[in-house]
């Protein structure tokens, strides 16, 4: 029943052109070994859905710098000059989404909702092409659900079945993305026996997780 897999084989499942959700916020809560292995295997034409692209040498920024990414859907690329350069040069498509809207769109994808109505972005360029819906005197934008082929998740602690705990601000988009992808790959800092994580502490239930990779090499 253990979901612990070899890093190389796990990442090999991801084809060029895949749509990936990758957890993390400025690299905090982004799975480092999974990023490293994507680079090593030379993946191409990825679509990456993530809060940001960190810095050119950090986290998701490394994928951008390696030109592994065809399209980015993110809330912020301001700390990554390379993402901005590629965007302006037309080398990489970038779709900018308000951070709270991105969180809800990912959540909606994982929760089986078609979308949500948010007041954020009304009357701004974010509104372009989106239905405006007025309810009880307030105007909202209809923002659609997002899904992905794979979610790459960083967890603090996992049990062998895949129940996950996160730490502090490294949680961010990870539990939302773990709901919204066809295949969920988790890099955990620690992997513990089943029963060690109490039910109330589990943030991502094991049934959502497909593969587990340990942060250190001891688990393959």
């Amino acid at each position: 029943m253990s979901k612990v897999r070899k890093l190389e084989e796990t990442v090999a499942m991801i084809p060029d052109g895949a749509v990936l959700m990758i957890g993390g916020f400025m690299g905090v809560g982004t799975p480092p070994r999974l990023i490293e292995e994507l680079l090593r295997q030379g993946k191409r034409d990825l679509t990456v859905i993530a809060n940001d692209t960190a810095r050119p040498t950090v986290g998701i920024g490394r994928l951008v710098s390696a030109k592994a990414v065809r399209k980015v859907i993110a809330s912020h690329i301001g700390t990554n000059s390379e993402t901005q350069r590629q965007m302006i040069a037309g080398e990489t498509m970038v779709e900018l989404v308000p951070q709270g809207t991105l969180a809800e769109r990912v959540r909606a994808g994982g929760f089986g909702l078609g979308g949500v109505l948010t007041p954020t972005g009304v009357g701004t360029v974010v509104e372009d092409g989106k239905p405006r819906i007025e309810l009880d005197g307030t105007v909202y934008l209809l923002e659609k659900a997002l899904k992905a082929d794979f979610a790459l998740i960083a967890a603090k602690r996992a049990d062998y079945l895949g129940n996950l705990e996160y730490a502090l601000t490294a949680r961010n988009f990870n539990p939302l993305m773990a709901m919204a992808a066809g295949t969920v790959i988790v890099e955990a800092e620690d992997i513990v026996p089943v029963g060690v994580i109490p039910p109330d502490s589990v943030v991502t239930p094991n049934v959502l997780v497909d593969c587990l990779v340990a942060k250190e090499h001891r688990h393959g």
Partner: protein
Amino acid sequence: MDEKTLIARRVALELRAGNLVNLGIGLPTMVAAHLPAGVDVFFQSENGIVGMAPVPEPGAENEDLSDAGGSPIGAVPGAASFDSAMSFGLIRGGHLDVTVLGGLQVDEEGRLANWMVPGKMVPGMGGAMDLVSGAKRVIVAMQHSAKGTPKIVKRCELPLTSVRRVDLIVTDLAVIEPTDKGLVLRETAPGVTVADVLAQTGAELIVPADVPVMPIG
């Protein structure tokens, strides 16, 4: 006192004990260091924590605990961490009492532009659009002008962050309150005259009979 410290100290006076406050990156972050005595507030960082604090001492950094800029932070006793949906639920749902943000432009209708200069700077809006749309009170903390060009303008040329009217603008020269009648000059900085403010403002200001000097805590 330098201009940024002046702005930070004046903004700090707007916070009330028990408030949940989000400080933008840069100048707004400085507000935390200037809270008046006895005013305990909770700082939210939109990457997922209520109860953000400075790193208590060198070496006490934790790789799982950072602010929205990715820099290490600390946490107060009673802090709570959560995912990004919850973080923006707090912001969008009206649970955030105050957000303090930097600005590129604010116009006569009190609308803020602070996330993009087309063709030049495309950082993305991050959490700014949600913060301005959702916080109970929005305070813009910025320099009054940028290299001589007024940042308070008739109508924003830069892409808007939100159509919501911000509640207060605090600059190195003045405190200005956007109202349904227009921008009202509420205070001037120490040593700054009303004429100085008007000269560096690109929008019409309503000037009351009495414009006191900015208190700075």
